[in-house]
């Protein structure tokens, strides 16, 4: 029993990271109709920024993290301007290729600037730290991940469902042309989406880098898992991305413990294939059919 709870906590923690990255995928996909293949770099770049602030500059945690999020906003803006905006009137293909190009560029830029050796960021908790509640050992970093993710998802729900900006973002995602006819500044909405997606990546990066270390390839693996999570949850669906991410995290940990730990990294894709075969629209996808 204790073991299952411990697995659930670590599964939910990793699942939260997948969910954050998956949300970034889905929001950009909904806004511009293109899968951003550089989503992993939305995690990697801010993670390095956090390393600079924490390890090189020695800033206190709160300042370093806020600074990282600020830089992530600017990074999202820059990415939108360089990789998406010039191609906005083209079909999806040039944009996809452009995001792949950006991904390769950013990974190699990280290699040039920071070297090949993974960096270990200063972290609030030490890696060995655990605490015990009635026989269950819990890693505090996991708790931090869960709490922050919960807060961020709550914030996002409020933003999208309760504010004017959120409604305009939803309208833009659902029908760009008509959004323009309402006087919504669609370009601003798209810029905001990229910035917010980068913030999601930054938060994921800050939370996960004490566990994974910061390297040029850290984003790629996460992004692949997160992408699987979006498909498992129902592609394009916001709740689907969150639930898909959490489901994937838990399933992965459970399978690693009870089936084979050697194949831990493969289970995500096995689950993906099974879901695609049995329920291709995803486990939690919402369906909006359109009427004439």
């Amino acid at each position: 029993m204790e073991e299952i709870i411990q697995l659930l906590v670590s599964g939910l923690a990793y699942g939260s990271i997948y969910a954050l990255v998956a949300l970034g995928f889905v929001l950009i996909y909904n806004a511009v109709g293109v899968v951003n293949f550089a989503q992993g770099e939305f995690v990697m770049v801010p993670s390095y920024i956090a390393v600079v602030f924490l390890n090189f500059w020695g800033l206190p945690f709160i300042l370093a993290y806020l600074g990282t999020i600020l830089v992530a906003c600017l990074f999202g803006l820059l990415f939108q301007q360089v990789a998406y905006y010039p191609l906005r009137h083209r079909t999806y293909l040039p944009v996809i290729i452009s995001t792949i190009g950006a991904s390769i560029f950013l990974q190699n830029a990280a290699l040039v600037v920071f070297g090949a050796e993974p960096k270990k960021p200063e972290s609030i908790f030490r890696p060995g730290d655990t605490f015990e509640i009635s026989g269950i050992f819990i890693v505090p970093q996991y708790v931090l991940i869960l709490v922050v993710t919960l807060l961020l998802v709550a914030f996002q729900y409020y933003l999208f469902e309760r504010t004017k900006l959120g409604k305009q973002l939803q309208a833009t995602a659902q029908d760009k042309t008509t959004a323009q006819l309402m006087g919504i500044q669609v370009n601003h909405m798209i810029i905001f989406t990229f910035m917010y997606s980068a913030v999601l990546g930054a938060v994921a990066g800050i939370l996960v880098s004490p566990l994974l270390l910061v390297s040029k390839t850290m984003g790629g693996g996460l992004a692949l898992k997160a992408f699987s999570a979006t498909i498992i949850g129902g592609f394009g669906s916001v709740p689907g991305a969150i639930l898909g991410g959490l489901f994937l995290g838990i399933a992965e940990k459970m399978a690693a413990r009870y089936i084979s730990s050697a194949y831990e990294q493969a289970f995500a894709f096995i689950i993906l294939i099974v879901v695609l075969l049995i329920k291709p629209e995803g486990l939690f996808g919402e369906k909006i059919s359109e009427k004439a």
Partner: protein, 264 residues
């Protein structure tokens, strides 16, 4: 109020509009009639800024619209209610209506109070929408969606309301309802530019009509005059065909009579 002169527009290499000229005066209902593909929707898109004209002049109350972004054109008071309703499917009816007031947010601190006021006005015109307010808009029937789309347009307090094929795909009873509503909105002082394939009814409520064929305005004039124009009768009103079924003939008769023209 609105003036188009020799407007031409392309989709890529395909020329959609060759030469479109028209004029709308304050308080009028003006209708553009024409077959599918004649360029009615493109004309609307050019006015609302979704398509850029490659030639011609496009003016609204002294403002040149030709190079303005769609949201700027909305701010000037031109609202384009698109063909096929185009509600935001995943948002509620209320959210759809409130989004219609987007253009009023920027310059106006009191928009919330005004939007609430406008919402009541829209509910007065379309009482059904009040009951449907919480429903996601994709669950609405075609007629309800059209009401919501027109209501959403009115939420912007437009000076000029452009309705693109509002009767398309609706049951005959609802078509009547839509036309009656347009007349009512117009009586309250709204200028309306109407795209319609339903030429007879459109001309019956309009004061001016324009006939569009393959991207060119081929005919224009007083709506009443166009209704009696032999050429139009043959091409758009279908009266060249003898209607043999007496029931159907009666329906067609009634459909023109039931609708009061403004000023009657």
């Amino acid at each position: 109020m609105l003036k188009l002169e020799g407007i031409a527009a392309n989709y890529g290499k395909v020329q959609a509009l060759r030469s479109v000229s028209l004029e709308v005066e304050t308080g009028q209902i003006v209708t553009i009639i024409g077959a599918n593909g004649a360029g009615k929707t493109t004309t609307f898109k050019t006015i609302s800024g979704l398509v850029r004209p490659v030639a011609g002049r496009l003016e609204f109350e002294g403002h040149n619209l030709a190079n303005l972004a769609p949201e700027k054109i909305v701010e000037l008071g031109i609202i384009h209610v698109p063909e096929g309703r185009r509600l935001f499917p995943g948002l509620s009816v209320l959210d759809n209506l409130l989004l219609g007031a987007t253009s009023r947010h920027k310059k106006n601190q009191k928009w919330r109070a005004e939007a609430a006021e406008d919402l009541e006005k829209v509910y007065k015109i379309f009482p059904a929408l009040k009951l449907l307010a919480k429903r996601l808009s994709w669950t609405l029937s075609g007629g309800e969606q059209q009401m919501c789309a027109i209501g959403r347009g009115l939420m912007a307090r437009p000076r000029l309301l452009m309705l693109d094929e509002p009767s398309l795909g609706l049951a005959p009873v609802l078509v009547q309802e839509v036309f009656r509503t347009i007349v009512e909105i117009n009586r309250q002082g709204m200028t309306v530019l109407l795209n319609e394939q339903n030429a007879r009814q459109a001309l019956a409520i309009a004061s001016r009509g324009y006939v569009l064929e393959t991207g060119t305005m081929v005919l224009s004039g007083e709506a009443r005059g166009l209704l009696n124009n032999e050429q139009i009768k043959r091409a758009y009103l279908g009266s060249a065909m003898k209607i043999k079924d007496p029931d159907l003939a009666e329906v067609v008769e009634n459909s023109t009579r039931k609708i009061p023209t403004p000023g009657e």
